[in-house]
Structures are given as structure tokens and as C-alpha cells.
Symmetry: C2
Subunit: 359 residues, 2 copies
């Protein structure tokens, strides 16, 4: 952990900001229980964590880079901060783990760190979105790094971009974390929540960039009204599956159902068939023409739902931790020369390629 | 952990590259012992680590951003990769910890991932430098993230920059990690190795950018010949200090002696005096005019030596883990209205400000 602050004004401003952050990040209301894992947070060379006895440590890291993962024109700072942490929490959820602490490396151009006319800076609003999600799941911000983001080398090409990298440390009981590699032929395939909503909302944003300029937080109803801007990591469902030993394998849907199911099948050495009619469409996707809805649900990505497999002999409830669960297909044996994943529609099976790309 | 690969050719290339990395990163020679902490590496939603029994978990994260922390014109890719990992390992060393695994988030413009005419790509050479240092300290690369780096938004402003973020997970016996906050008045102040060498070599690079184009690795003699390009994290010294309970506080010198000593004093609630004549100058700094040598040794930064304090009743050897140790000053009580750190030169004491900046 370090601060790069070679210029005096940057150094002093940076130091004051980190000191303020230290107070806000570690002493969040309701964090008493989980906070016990965090023995030392911001302010030393490393943070110190004490995982629960008998647990192993889970580690995940994910970029959130402006123009790659979000756009300042489309996403409010609160949404960018929420999405940054959600990416990491979703990986912990996919293993059935319990998040212990988050670490944020954040490089920003100078203008995003300035508050003007009493209004909070982009950085403050990004952190508000980040910390609100952390608070919801009792995950303290325990460290990270800050830097001025690099300027483009050519003159006149503007200032730098907002660059973030999130690390989430979690824990799971020894040898119990749910891996991608445990699916077996005959297992049923399940998803949490609804599919295609994130991609549908992203398409709305692309068409109307200022549509959600005032949207700072999603409201939780039966469907997440902002599946792209404020995705919900499925931590409750993940820990339930681990605790009740129901899942043979799991992965989160970050790259899209077709791609992530392919990853799971590859790691497990199995094949799969997906039943089109069984896919739970998000209302934002269901409202679109059928072919577009299908494309978004199968290949859209960033739904951050869990995709998991379970033995046909294990009962899976229709809701887990308040989230609806749908059975969408079945794991099969790999057959040489046949595609790894098939999509079954009206009784006909055809190849389902990762990302929908034909060779 | 995830891969962002929405374009088919990028997706397939990325997947093949990560598959290859998985084999190289986890099965390094001589990694049998440490590797036992790593239960699951690249290829799932999270990595799984099993820290030694009775240990706590240390976490550190540091950016390595092109134009901020390194320059493609000055640094060989091997040096950039080595420095990236060294930053993280040095933070673990400063707590007296033992590194268990590293995680690398790496965003690159397309052209740095291409090998041409049979010569390895910039990415391959960066990783060679990274993995060579990991191998030296038995630290496997256990995960991370990859992305295409964002392009500048203005047309004609070139391709993107190389962006890296390193996470190192370490461990230390419960409640034994050496913190910044334990220094007490009367304690002696020590440094490992030599100071000012990294800044002196950086000044050489700035003046003659192509000076070290063929330099792919430092040679270990009595002085590190390339203290900037290939800094040596002081892991051996750190673990010795923890094991033998000799240090009351420690920090690594990343921002410069004056700044990092100020951090240590701030966290410990103490003041300090540094004896100029006692500072161990690196030969590259010692060869410069006296005022310049002093500036580099006090404020230069990136030496990645350890700065630690110890009770005057505890004997500190002249070498620890093969590295020379110098006593450079003493911790004092804070006196209101007096500067936190003083520099003593020829018997005269004057304020030593962090970074050398006057108010």
C-alpha cells in the first residue's frame, strides 16, 4: 500500500483525503461483527486480516477502467463505484464465500478529485456508491492505492481517465468453496434472478446517455430496476448453497451466460444443454423483440447472477435468500466432435457458442 | 477475477494466453514448499489460499502505471515487471511477513501483446521480469485480471498505456506483524542497505533514456548495481526482525526517507532526529556533489529499503540476512511547536520536512 505524492500540494491533499477516508471506511454502522476480521486497515504497509477459524482465504481482483468498463457520460459516479465493488463481491458469492474486506486502487485525473461550489467531487460520489454497497454487506474498505492517472502523451488529447482495480478478500470453510470444476453429467443447471437486464439497460444508456443522470441507487423490488447501473451481488444465495452443500459447481455471470457456462463446462470437463423457454428474462429484456431478448439473455453479460449446478437428487428451493431460482438445463457427458453447449428451443437442439460468435 | 473479451479474436487469444500463463505461473521450480499455501490458482472466480496455522493474513496493493511509475522509453519490460512485483513484496517485508501469492491486474494496448518476428512481446518480457522475481522468493502468480487498456478519447492521440496493479497476500504469526505505530522515544532508527541509489539511477535514465536498453537483470554484489531498475525487496531482513522480536516499528522506503520516517512517526505519535553522517549512501549517490547526494538519500524514494526502530537495549547485528544495517538516528518525544523530524549535520539540528518541501 502506498501513496504517490511527489508534489507538495498533491501530497498534502492526498494525505488529508486518505486520513478522512480512514475514518469513514472502517467505522461504518452495523459493521461490528464482520469488522472483527479486519485487525488493521488503512494506514500501514499492509492491512491485517484474521479469517474465521477453520476457514480458507478467497482472493479476487477486477479492473473497472473508464471507457472499457464504464463511461463518465453514461454512468453516475455512484454507479461506477457500486459496480466496481459489485464485480469483486460477485466473485466471492460464486464460491459461496463470505467477504471480509475490500481494497481499492484508484487513479484519477486531478479534476475528478476537486469539489466545486460545495458539490461533492466525482471521487467523493464514486466512493459514496462504493461504500454504500460495502455497508450493505458489512465489507469495510481496508486499503488500496491512489495515484494521479496518466495523461495521454499527445498534446491536446485531454486529461487522464478514471482507473480502478478492486480486490476483495473473502473466506470459506476449509475445502468447501464452490469451484467451477465440480459439475457432473446429469446435474441440473440453475441461475439466480433474471437474465438480460444489464445488457438491455446498457443498450438504453448507449441510445440515451443522459437517461439515468439522476439515478444514484437502485430500489429493490421483485426485479432490480437498474440491473446494469446497480447490480446486486448474490452473496446470500452463494453462502446458502455452500452451507447446505447443494451446488456441485458455480460461476458468476459476468461475461454472459453462454461464455460463463462454457468456462464452467471447460473446468468440469462436461457438456451442457440449455432450455431456451426456461430462461428467466428480466422485464427490460422481455419487452424487446424475441431475437434481441434471446441475444441479451444468452450473451449479454454483467448480470452478476450465479450460475450453478446441482445433483438431480438434491432439492433446490424456488427462492434462496429471497432471490428466485430457475432450472435452465442439464449437464451432459462430452461427446467428441459435438459442440460443448447446446441450446434447446421448441424441442430442437443447436450449438450455443460462447458470446454468440460463429466461427 | 474475470476476463473481458467481447471480441472473438481478442477472446480466443486472451483465453489461450491465460491458459499458458496458468501452467507457467503455478508450477515454477523450487516452489513446492510455499506453493502449499496456494490451494487454487488461476482459472476460477477466486483463488483459494491456506495461510499457515496460527498466522494472520497481510494484504497490500500497488499501482504500476505507465508515465506515472515507469516509462516505456526508459524501462525495459523486464524492469517494469520486476518493479511491479517488488513494490508489493516490499510492503510485506516491512511488516516482517511471508509472501504467499501475487495477483496481477494488467491492462495493455493491443500492440504490447503481439510478438513480432519471433521476438517475445512486451507483455511476455514484462511477465518474465515479474515471474523471475516471484520465483526468487517462491511467490506464485495466483490470479488477477486482464483488459485492453483504454484509448485516449481524442483522435490521433496514440494508443493506450500499460496499466498494472499488483496485489500480494502474505502472512505473519498472529499479532506479531511489525506495524508503523510501535516506535517509542529513545528507540534507535535503522535502515537496511543503501540510500539514494534508486533516485540517482533514475536521474541517469532521465538524462540518457537508452542507457539501460539491454539491461534485463541486476547482478547481486555488495551494492545493487541497478537499485532503480531492479530493486531488492528486503524480505529476509523483515522476517528476521519479526522472528527475533527486534523491531518496535517498520516501514519500507518507497516515498523517500524523509516522507516514510514522517509516516512512521505520525503513526507512532513520536518525533525523530536523523544523523546525516550516518546515512549509508549508495555508490551511485555518493559519486554526486554533496548537496545532490543528500537530496537523493533523504527524499529520493523508491529505494525499497526497510526503515525500522528498535529499543536501545536490543542488539541489532551489522548485517541481517546478508544486508548491511546502519543506525541512522533516534526517536524522540513530540514537543509542541517543534518540527517532527530533525536532521543533525555537524552537530547542528534543522527541520527535515517530508519530501524536502518547505511550506
Amino acid at each position: 500500500m502506498s501513496r504517490h505524492s511527489r508534489h507538495p500540494e498533491a501530497g498534502i491533499g492526498e494525505r488529508a483525503w486518505i486520513a478522512g477516508l480512514r475514518n469513514r471506511a472502517e467505522v461504518l454502522p452495523g459493521m461490528a461483527l464482520k469488522g472483527r476480521a479486519l485487525r488493521l486497515g488503512i494506514g500501514d504497509d499492509c492491512a491485517i486480516l484474521q479469517p474465521p477459524a477453520g476457514h480458507q482465504v478467497l482472493v479476487t481482483t477486477d479492473f473497472s477502467l473508464e471507457t472499457v468498463h464504464f463511461r463518465r457520460q453514461w454512468h453516475t459516479p455512484e454507479s461506477a463505484g457500486h459496480r466496481c465493488l459489485a464485480r469483486g463481491l460477485s466473485d466471492i458469492a460464486a464460491m459461496g464465500g463470505n467477504p471480509l474486506a475490500a481494497f481499492l486502487s484508484l487513479a484519477l485525473p486531478m479534476e475528478l478529485t476537486r469539489s466545486e461550489a460545495g458539490r461533492p467531487s466525482w471521487r467523493e460520489r464514486f466512493l459514496a456508491g462504493f461504500l454504500a454497497l460495502g455497508q450493505k454487506f458489512d465489507v469495510p474498505l481496508a486499503g488500496g492505492d491512489t495515484a494521479r492517472s496518466p495523461r495521454p502523451t499527445a498534446p491536446g488529447s485531454g486529461t487522464g481517465l478514471a482507473l480502478a482495480d478492486i480486490v476483495v478478500i473473502g473466506s470459506a470453510p476449509k475445502d468447501r468453496a464452490i469451484r467451477r470444476s465440480g459439475a457432473r453429467p446429469g446435474d441440473r443447471i440453475y441461475v439466480t434472478g433474471q437474465l438480460g437486464g444489464a445488457a438491455a439497460e446498457l443498450a438504453q444508456l448507449a441510445a440515451h446517455p443522459r437517461l439515468f443522470r439522476d439515478c444514484t441507487k437502485g430500489v429493490n423490488g421483485s426485479s432490480n430496476p437498474h440491473p446494469h447501473l446497480f447490480p446486486e451481488p448474490r452473496l446470500g444465495a452463494g453462502t446458502w448453497l455452500l452451507k447446505n452443500r447443494r451446488a456441485t459447481a458455480a460461476i458468476d455471470i459476468s461475461d454472459g451466460l453462454s461464455t460463463d457456462l462454457d468456462h464452467l463446462c471447460e473446468e468440469s470437463g462436461v457438456a451442457a444443454v440449455v432450455e431456451w423457454a426456461a430462461l428467466p428474462l428480466h422485464p427490460l429484456a422481455a419487452d424487446l423483440p424475441a431475437s434481441e431478448a434471446q441475444r441479451l439473455a444468452l450473451h449479454g453479460g454483467e448480470d452478476y447472477e450465479l450460475l450453478f449446478t446441482a445433483s438431480p437428487r438434491r432439492k433446490i428451493p424456488r427462492r434462496i435468500a429471497g432471490v428466485p431460482i430457475a432450472c435452465i438445463g442439464e449437464i451432459r457427458r462430452v461427446e467428441p466432435g459435438k459442440p460443448r453447449i447446446l441450446l434447446c428451443e421448441l424441442g430442437l437442439e443447436r450449438p450455443l457458442l460462447p458470446g454468440g460468435w460463429e466461427h
